[in-house]
């Protein structure tokens, strides 16, 4: 299941929705992406632009691919857009399976793919001005290791 939304999410609520409907879950993996702030970071805000329509399409495709590649009971991807601030949650991935290996691997797969395949672009507003975040080679490498 996927959601693309402006609003924040609550991981406890999202997990409960899954566990209340499925009696055979043995393991749940999650990943939360957060807007980094603090320390020497001069970030004021980060605005996530996205290609509405294509985002939902891509997320559904990635979600379905995870379910094909691993034996999963349920998956959930929630990705926010709009203006976010340091400490704000950006993205949530949840994977639930009978045996932990499937949940763990598919959760990593999903977040690696989101980094390079989901049509979002991040505009950082910091004391240095506004700047679009560039693609990272490390993200491309992480995604490429899942090529089937």
């Amino acid at each position: 299941m996927i959601k693309v939304q402006k609003n924040d999410f609550n991981i406890g609520h999202e997990i409960s929705e899954i566990t209340s409907k499925n009696q055979n879950i043995g393991g749940i993996s999650t990943f939360i992406g957060i807007v980094r702030g603090g320390n020497n970071n001069s970030l004021n805000s980060m605005t996530l632009e996205h290609y509405s329509g294509m985002t939902e399409k891509m997320l559904n495709e990635i979600d379905n691919e995870a379910k094909e590649r691993w034996d999963l009971i349920e998956t959930k991807i929630i990705h926010r857009y709009g203006e976010l601030f340091p400490g704000d949650q950006i993205v949530l991935v949840i994977t639930a399976s009978e045996h932990r290996k499937n949940a763990i691997e598919s959760c990593q797969f999903l977040i690696d793919w989101l980094k390079t395949k989901a049509p979002f672009w991040k505009l950082e507003d910091s004391t240095k001005g506004k700047n679009w975040v560039e693609e990272k080679q490390s993200d491309l490498d992480a995604a490429s290791k899942w090529k089937s």
Partner: protein, 83 residues
Amino acid sequence: MNIRYFSWVKDKIGVDNESISMSKDIKTVNDLIAHLKTISDKHNNALSDTSIIRCAVNMEVVNFDKPIDEKDEIAIFPPMTGG
């Protein structure tokens, strides 16, 4: 043909979408980009380095040799940075 722009491609061109009239010369994404670069300096500047330009046809990222026609939904943007 309507074309959508995102991120700094949008910023550099100055609009988030525009319509161009199709010609017989525009058979692929490559042709389209070559044509767009002739429209203005802004377009030329935004699309000069195609190594950091991506194109989606009907919401699917494609290679630039992808054939296109007037009914397609086209979007041009930099590499995606989700997650």
